[in-house]
């Protein structure tokens, strides 16, 4: 069975603002959903709700991986890969140490982290605090893909990346969406949020939050 994501009438307010007002969409395996909208339209909020980091005020989020019942928020948190501007790493630890720590948390060996680090051309022994913003973005990609997630949530994923970095990231995204990306050879799915539309493969649907 293939992974699938759908969400219905998701709403979230912060204090005075109704940031998300009844958003719905669905994404199938091998597809990407592109979410656009002006700043403050709720793109990041939506992604955080999908990731299980925020509880929506109302609405449902249905993500299943193996044809089983939908995962609850805790399940989604463990299973998704998130690339977002507010994901930060431990400044006093090196790149390699950061990846090794998260690999250990997830019960993984070092190989995957090393492989991603090499692919994204990250200097292993540099403290994370000393990384340029572009390098930090590459580290976010490496971290997100560490556990081979089936659902990728990407919030402004090519921000700060130079041409080379963006090309590597696009390649990783394309591989993720192609069959054979995840365990059991199922293609992954992705939700990509960006202020302006992006050139990414396999976009099946677009959701514009801004107005």
């Amino acid at each position: 069975m293939l992974p699938a994501l759908s969400f219905t009438e998701v709403r979230r307010r912060f204090g005075r603002l109704a940031v998300l007002g009844g958003v719905s969409a669905s994404v199938a395996a091998g597809e990407a959903l592109l979410v656009t909208g002006r700043n403050g339209a709720g793109k990041s909020t939506l992604l955080r709700c999908l990731a299980g980091l925020l509880a929506p005020d109302s609405g449902t989020i249905d993500y299943r991986e193996d044809g089983g019942p939908p995962l609850d928020a805790a399940g989604r948190r463990r299973r998704v890969g998130l690339v977002a501007p507010d994901v930060a790493f431990y400044g006093e630890l090196t790149v390699a140490e950061n990846l090794a720590f998260f690999a250990r948390l997830r019960g993984l060996g070092r190989e995957r982290g090393d492989e991603l680090r090499r692919r994204l051309e990250l200097p292993p022994d540099r403290p994370a605090a000393a990384l340029s913003s572009g390098m930090r973005q590459r580290l976010r990609w490496a971290w997100a893909l560490l556990h081979r997630p089936l659902l990728l949530l990407l919030d402004e994923p090519f921000q700060n990346l130079d041409a080379a970095g963006a090309a590597i990231a696009r390649g990783l995204l394309a591989e993720h969406l192609a069959p054979g990306a995840g365990p059991g050879e199922a293609p992954g799915l992705a939700v990509v949020a960006n202020p302006v539309p992006l050139e990414i493969p396999r976009v099946a649907a677009s959701l514009d939050l801004g107005a």
Binding site: R13, F14, G15, R16, A18, A55, D57
Partner: protein, 252 residues
């Protein structure tokens, strides 16, 4: 209609308690003058603050771990908050009446007698809970963190009852029902005391119901105007302000 009848009954009951406290119950032997009358109000107030604390704990547990109908439901959060506020009210009243009594009986307002210490700690807890609520902006996070803290309070409080009285010397009169289970108090006094206890408990639950409903209405008003309570201070004033502001912007 049923609610109104019950409310009238409560008021009559409490009126009867007040009359009974002064006219029906005799004076206690060991107390100065009429001061033993305070007993019928001070003890039930302390009891009510204890009931309030338990109520807040229960609603907080329901908010965190309840079934589908209670978990993460704003009404459980509102009920917990209302209970804490009332616990603060009854606790302050108990402290004040206790201090007055202490002054009459032993000449000083405060002695750090273990029960006085316990009630102060309960007040500090309640105050800390409300301070926490004021420090979190997001409604969902606020409810969750407050419920966790209230539950922690519930876990820690029994230790006050075991630890504090043992460590400090007590000026408080012996408990009414002493170790051997015999009643250590005049029958009529005991009747009035029990009646007052029941009355104050009912008074707490009635006030709690009112306060919870008021909080629910305030939330609904603010939501209808596209805003929610700033911090927790909410209320009609902010709603009116928000309504006026939205009326102004919509005509621009």
């Amino acid at each position: 209609m049923k609610r109104t009848a019950a409310t009238w009954f409560l008021w009559l009951w409490i009126a009867a308690v007040i009359v009974g406290a002064f006219l029906y119950a005799p004076l206690a032997a060991k107390f100065i003058g009429q001061s033993s009358r305070i007993l019928f109000f001070h003890v039930p107030m302390a009891w009510a603050s204890f009931v309030a604390f338990l109520t807040a704990g229960v609603w907080s547990l329901l908010y965190l771990f309840g079934g589908k109908r209670q978990a993460r439901q704003p009404r459980c959060d509102r009920a917990a908050r209302a209970a804490i506020e009332l616990g603060l009210l009854f606790g302050v009243l108990a402290t004040i009446t206790g201090a007055i009594w202490a002054r009459i009986m032993w000449g000083s307002w405060w002695n750090w007698d273990p029960r006085q210490t316990s009630i102060v700690m309960a007040l500090v807890f309640n105050g800390a809970y409300l301070a926490l609520r004021d420090s979190v902006e997001d409604a969902e996070k606020r409810a969750r963190l407050a419920a966790a803290y209230a539950t922690l309070g519930l876990v820690v409080t029994p230790f006050f009852f075991f630890v504090v009285p043992r460590i400090t010397f007590s000026l408080h009169p012996e408990p009414v029902i002493n170790a051997s289970g015999q009643r250590d108090m005049e029958t009529r006094m005991f009747q009035v005391l029990l009646a007052s206890g029941a009355g104050f408990t009912a008074l707490f639950f009635w006030l709690h119901d009112l306060r919870t409903r008021l909080l629910a209405l305030a939330d609904r008003v603010l939501e209808a105007h596209g805003a929610s309570a700033p911090g927790d201070a909410g209320a009609a004033g902010a709603a009116v302000g928000a309504a006026a502001a939205s009326a102004r912007t919509s005509t621009q």
